[in-house]
């Protein structure tokens, strides 16, 4: 007897990928629970981002409490607070000094709220010579300096930093520094003996006025120390004192006495005594506190980033993981998988269609909700007096699109694990363990020391949250650059690539198992 039973007129094997896609899209949109799950994800992202949030004190007590940061020549937020003994340079000229010592004092919080002061030098304590457009904080400058722990440097316009002679300064091993101004070009030199000079760098300060201030400066940033990763951070203001002699001014310097000015004394984060200078027979002692550097967030800085508004993404992520996993496991539970595979015998294609559908839908949901919450959330935070770091439009778009992409790829991982373990509970738990738990351990409550924490932020799928980083880590600013402060070890798209690699492995394994196993 030949089998002449019902034979479908649809040619299953030749069905196009578009048809499979449409079938999977229909499945997704017609299960009410899944649509509700995706709406819950969107709602959680928006509601948690806008609802409960931090409360700040910026602008709540009149203009004095405004957290407006000093802006540098490039429009970036900077710290510009130091003590300057200066004269006026009206044209081109050169200043040369010898630095014979750099000492300092650190203030650390002691027991019972008191402050202990001990002598010591912050690594980025600095003293030397500077030529600056004016005494207004944030104005353009170039400086040659000795530092507490990083040798002689030439720094300019807050973000520029070029190393010179290495090693600490002392009376037996002094450092000679020279700064030459020619138009808007400044050249820094250093020397160990005052005769053999080495050029450190030549920089151009666009728009430098003809009349500038030049002289001797000292400053020392907020000092912080950690123990146990960053579980306990303490620190306080520090102060640096530089001893400088053999001061020589050549060129168009206006004749006059040295004037002492505490630049930006009020708004420095290290609000110690503003410092001062003495001149005893040509031996200058300059004491200052603060920093001349780009501002940072975290332990040594202030404020939050726009990533703060995306706190609800974790709730959204869990909802998306549940939907992603069930999109696959429901097929097994109801036996639907046999119908599905009968209609589309190319099993890899089924999984690919499911991955495309769930990724596209999740991306759309994530994009809409993150766009809303990032745009509105910063306003809410600012209205509550929280200092939110300004970002470029491009970075903001990257954070929004990146977050949506993270959700989409996480959904694909959930789908793949669902196909691998075929159980909803296991798949959802696995996704949460590989994505949310590492995030919790690296960013939210770092329980581990810095080493393992950074390792987690590099290799686990949680590395992808680097797409939310908008801050720049500056080596010339001491700070604790950790994920919990908003600084990830990987570049944004590199972190996202780590997540994608996990998704690719999971999806490949799922396809292989789907082929290999009976449905």
């Amino acid at each position: 007897m030949t089998n002449t039973g019902y034979r479908s007129r649809i040619q299953p094997a030749r069905g196009s990928f578009t048809q499979t896609l449409r079938a999977e899209w229909v499945k997704l949109r017609t299960v009410r629970g899944w649509v509700v799950g995706l709406l819950v994800a969107a709602l959680a992202i928006v509601a948690l981002g806008l609802g409960p949030s931090a409360q700040g004190s910026c602008g709540t007590n009149g203009a004095a409490s405004n957290c407006a940061q000093t802006l540098g020549p490039g429009g970036e937020a900077v710290t510009d607070s130091f003590y300057l003994a200066h004269q006026t340079l009206n044209g081109d000229g050169t200043i040369t000094v010898r630095v014979t010592s750099l000492t300092g004092q650190l203030s650390l919080p002691g027991r019972g709220g008191s402050t202990q002061t001990r002598s010591g030098l912050a690594p980025w304590a600095k003293a030397g010579i500077i030529i600056k457009a004016g005494t207004r904080p944030g104005s353009a400058y170039a400086a040659m300096m000795v530092t507490g722990g990083y040798g002689a440097r030439m720094q300019y316009d807050y973000t520029g930093d070029v190393p010179g002679l290495a090693g600490p300064v002392s009376a037996s091993s002094p450092r000679w520094l020279r700064l030459t101004r020619s138009g808007d070009t400044l050249t820094g030199y250093d020397s160990a003996d005052g005769t053999h000079w080495l050029k450190v760098a030549t920089v151009t300060l666009a728009g430098l006025p003809r009349t500038v201030q030049g002289g001797l400066f000292a400053t020392s940033p907020q000092y912080s120390q950690t123990s146990m990763g960053e579980l306990s951070v303490d620190g306080g203001p520090s102060q640096a004192t530089g001893a400088l002699d053999h001061v020589s001014l050549r060129g168009a310097w206006q004749p006059g006495a040295w004037t002492g000015t505490a630049i930006g004394a009020a708004d420095g984060p290290a609000a110690g005594s503003p410092g001062g200078f003495t001149d005893v027979d040509g031996v200058f002692t300059v004491t200052g506190t603060g920093d001349i550097a780009p501002s940072v967030s975290g332990a040594s800085g202030i404020g939050v980033t726009i990533a703060q508004t995306l706190i609800g993404v974790f709730a959204g992520l869990i909802a998306v993981a549940v939907v992603g996993a069930m999109f696959m496991t429901a097929e097994y539970r109801r036996g639907l998988i046999r119908v599905t595979l009968a209609a589309t015998p190319r099993r890899g294609r089924v999984l690919a269609a499911k991955a495309v559908v769930i990724a596209a839908v999740t991306f759309a949901v994530g994009l809409a909700s993150s766009a809303i919450v990032v745009t509105l959330g910063q306003r809410v935070l600012r209205s509550r007096g929280v200092y939110v770091w300004a970002v470029t439009g491009l970075a903001e778009v990257r954070v929004i699109v990146g977050t949506a992409a993270v959700l989409a790829v996480a959904a694909v991982i959930a789908l793949s694990i669902g196909a691998i373990v075929r159980r909803g509970a296991g798949a959802v738990a696995a996704v949460i363990v590989v994505i949310v738990l590492p995030y919790l351990l690296t960013v939210t409550t770092p329980l581990l020391p810095a080493g393992p924490t950074e390792w987690l932020a590099r290799v686990t799928p949680a590395a992808a949250f680097a797409v939310q980083q908008t801050l720049i880590a500056y080596p010339q600013v001491s700070n604790i650059y950790t994920p919990s402060a908003g600084y990830y070890p990987l570049a944004p798209w590199a972190g996202f690539a780590v997540l994608c690699a996990w998704a690719a492995v999971a999806l490949a394994l799922a396809v292989w198992l789907l082929h290999r196993r009976d449905a």
Binding site: G33, G37, L48, P52, S53, A54, Q55, S227, M228, L231, S232, Q308, I311, F314, A315, I318, A319, A321, V322, A325, M326, T329, R333, R423, G424, A425, G426, A427, V428, A429, I432, V433, V436, L437, Y439, L440, L441, V443, T444, T445, L447, L448, P449, G451, P452, S484
Partner: protein, 289 residues
């Protein structure tokens, strides 16, 4: 999900006190809870998944603990760390496995339709839930004890080599010391309470994927959200979050700065577990299976 229920099942449960089934249960009335317990125990122990999950609880608790011990350092006296918390940090991960175990104990019955057989055989729905709670928490207590003992032993052996010496103010971990014993025994109880919380949620929700998502969201979202709030509110969130409050039982150092003392912290988790079980019991009692 809401499959039309055979009327026989619902009628059995509603009239069980007068039906003929009651005659059978009268025969061994004293043994009714014991019979329910034996039935649940048989179901649980004959699933191969149960043993793999329990093995995972032991292995993950110990392995993560060893990793954390090896990563920790204490370079000077007063380094402000808590060796018991480090040694027991595997609980952070193994609690997810416990949650899976507890969720599957009930949602597995719903996904296969077994629940209708179960409730036909044992119409007293609350004693079914009670028996499940006893069986799941007993297994969790056993696996948790093994994992925690292994973690404490690893901590006692590894941590002194990482600078946690009496010289730095840290005697070796020992169950003979009161705070260490509290951390160890409390961690085992913590796992059992997580199991009860997950069982309650899964009884109310029924679907395994949604239940596990909900339980893990309850556990992990509180700390994430707390980190975004100002210190006042985040302290409150840490006091009410089941994970952050419950894990305060592991603290042996710096107790004064904790949002919640160890035992009240575990009490908060117990309230969560009780609430979830109540919700689950109410849903099971009032709803068609």
């Amino acid at each position: 999900m809401s499959v039309p229920v055979p009327t026989s099942v619902s009628s059995v449960s509603s009239v069980s006190s007068v039906s003929s089934i009651d005659a059978r249960s009268t025969a061994n009335r004293t043994g009714a809870p014991a019979a329910a317990l034996r039935a649940e125990w048989t179901k649980l122990r004959t699933l191969p998944g149960t043993w793999w999950l329990l093995l995972a609880v032991v292995a993950l608790t110990a392995a993560v603990g060893v990793g954390a011990d090896a990563a920790a350092t204490c370079q000077a006296a007063g380094c402000g760390q808590d060796p018991a918390k480090i040694a027991l940090s595997g609980i952070d991960l193994s609690q997810t496995v416990v949650a899976i175990l507890a969720v599957l104990a009930i949602s597995g019955e719903y996904s296969t339709g077994m629940i209708r057989t179960t409730l036909t055989a044992m119409p007293r729905r609350l004693s079914v839930l009670g028996a499940k709670a006893v069986a799941v928490s007993a297994l969790t207590l056993a696996a948790g004890t093994a994992g925690v003992l292994a973690s404490m032993l690893a901590g006692a052996l590894i941590l002194p080599g990482r600078g946690f010496t009496p010289l730095h103010g840290y005697p070796a971990l020992s169950l003979a010391s009161g705070p260490d014993l509290r951390a160890a025994a409390g961690s085992v109880l913590y796992l059992a309470l997580i199991a009860l919380l997950a069982l309650g949620v899964a009884t109310a929700v029924r679907d395994s994927a949604v239940s596990i998502g909900l339980v893990l969201a309850l556990l992990y979202l509180f700390p994430v959200i707390a980190s975004a709030l100002n210190p006042h509110w985040s302290r409150h969130l840490e006091q009410i979050g089941p994970m952050s409050a419950g894990l305060s039982i592991q603290a042996t150092a710096g107790l004064r700065s904790l949002p919640l003392a160890p035992w009240p912290g575990l009490g908060v988790l117990a309230l969560w577990a009780a609430g979830a079980l109540l919700a689950g019991a109410a849903a099971l009692r009032l709803r068609d299976a």
